[in-house]
Assembly symmetry: C2
Homo-oligomer: 366 residues x 2
Amino acid sequence: MKFKCEKNVLQEAISIAQKAVTGKSTMPILQGILITAEKDEITLTGSDIDLSIETKISAEVSETGSIVVDSRLFGDIVRKLPNSYIELNSVDSNSIELICEKSKFNLVHMNAEDFPSLPSVDEDTLLSLNQKLLKSMIKGTMFAIAQDETRPILTGVLFEIKNNNLNLVALDGYRLALKRETINYEGDVSAVIPGKTLSEVVKILDEEHEVNITFTSNHTLFNLGKTKIISRLLEGEFIKYNSIIPEEYNLKVTTRRDELLNCIERASLVAKEGNTNLIKLDIEDEYMVITSNSQLGNVREELNIILQGQPLEIAFNSKYLIDVLKIMDEEEIVMELSSSVSPCVIKSKENSNCIYLVLPVRLLNS
Amino acid sequence: MKFKCEKNVLQEAISIAQKAVTGKSTMPILQGILITAEKDEITLTGSDIDLSIETKISAEVSETGSIVVDSRLFGDIVRKLPNSYIELNSVDSNSIELICEKSKFNLVHMNAEDFPSLPSVDEDTLLSLNQKLLKSMIKGTMFAIAQDETRPILTGVLFEIKNNNLNLVALDGYRLALKRETINYEGDVSAVIPGKTLSEVVKILDEEHEVNITFTSNHTLFNLGKTKIISRLLEGEFIKYNSIIPEEYNLKVTTRRDELLNCIERASLVAKEGNTNLIKLDIEDEYMVITSNSQLGNVREELNIILQGQPLEIAFNSKYLIDVLKIMDEEEIVMELSSSVSPCVIKSKENSNCIYLVLPVRLLNS
């Protein structure tokens, strides 16, 4: 193998392929990046079996071939090299030579044959989406996935295509997040993509181009052109989320998102110290009073609202409300409530393509 | 106690006093900030016994008094409040009320009598210095203090005043850092200030004003006007550093600092993986070759230099050279060497107010 390429281009490609290298694997080969040189092009691949990322860059290839180098060391070296051309040559069966101006590295490499092959995904049926839109849908739901592994299916986000709608859904037993977009796509899909995959996908998506997404029964492929991200899907049935979201409500609160967020954040400071995060919302006709207390003291916040319906007292774990209010970017939001023990639905006042649901905390005296 | 002050001013003062609150003390009172309201002014004090910081701000005081509140909770609350006026009132013997617009907190407080009193420092003999200059002297030496506690005196920086020179010196058995400034001061001083104190001092120093420094036999006081920092000194004799710094040398290397730093950083990537950090410098007539190797591979870097004297091979722990080259801001530096087993002195090419010394690593084959 022998090729020459631009330092900056190689550095960018390494940083993309590296996102699939967790460094936690017990297989040493998975701490490496597979480099394959073909005609005018080299391909860098990182993988932790569940997630694989490959990306291609232009290069002057004078000898084809492929090797595996330690991902972190190779990335650190390339990043520290001067902004110039890098030459990479196989020296013998187990080492490569990397030359850039007056720097010359000899690095031991692993064998390309030992690197796991990527699952093959037939890209016949494609969902094409704007990358910026997909990024905002993932960010708008991913925060709500379950953090513990007791129900593995909940550690992913449901990608559901039905009736020309793409629904992204995440839930963890305390809250739910749903983002919806109208799309053109033949057929139905219901696939649960691991949170780990999506947190890397959002880092790679850019703002302008399209991404093609393909689903098979076990895998999904995000094709960004030069870069392909292939991930295992989570096995099992996702929870029937539609039955969780209430369609009716008894009262509706309209308020400014940033003000509500500030009040809850301040109130939670006292609650946090007691490790309960418990805050109480007292919804009155034209204002809401938010209170909280612990052995450290108590707090009372007041906020202007528009209320349709009857006053209500309801308590929440402040963290779940804060997560939702932080992820939304709308100026005005709507809260739909029915009783102190039924879920609270939070929506944008303007458009209906996001629905958040938070379960209340039942108070001992209610 | 009852006073009213601006939110931003109070927030800034808390963040200063908080720097002395480590949160690691077993005495709960030391997790608090002492607030004392006197005529037109309140004083905030944080302390971990070794280090105490007090700072004063203007306030409308309608009732004098003093209390201690939890430093972190109080700081978090004030930071999250709207940009407005804050009222603080004693409610009863163990709680205060904090009001800001529509937010109202009731907080349990501790007793001011339980807060340790600050050591009194007689400010008769003052050393007056520009804060920016002091900051750069501290930053230029502090990195070289010992990280382990086996010789406690080396975990501080020596402030030595002799012959109208202020010398700051830090050393850890492998390297030494010295910064020198000419000052006007009557008499001699030799005081070792803990690294912990200095790392907080540099955060508080601003760029423009003067700072007055006073030394007693056990303490030092940095007086910045509104803010006073009082620290215990380390006990014991500092090492006679003058005898360590060689006055003569056999060869002298002049080179660009940034290029040398880049070469050493790259070379150390291979060395780091082997956990030895060992790099070898091959000093020739017009160039220096830097090499390193481990089981992961090897590297060769080449760099243009001007050499006065005979060629030399010498090895270092790259971390110590990198620390020095990163802390300096000179374009061109000078290395003075005598043999492969004697210390290397690194200086600015231009001025003589900083001296760095790094011990070489003895190679098995040398």
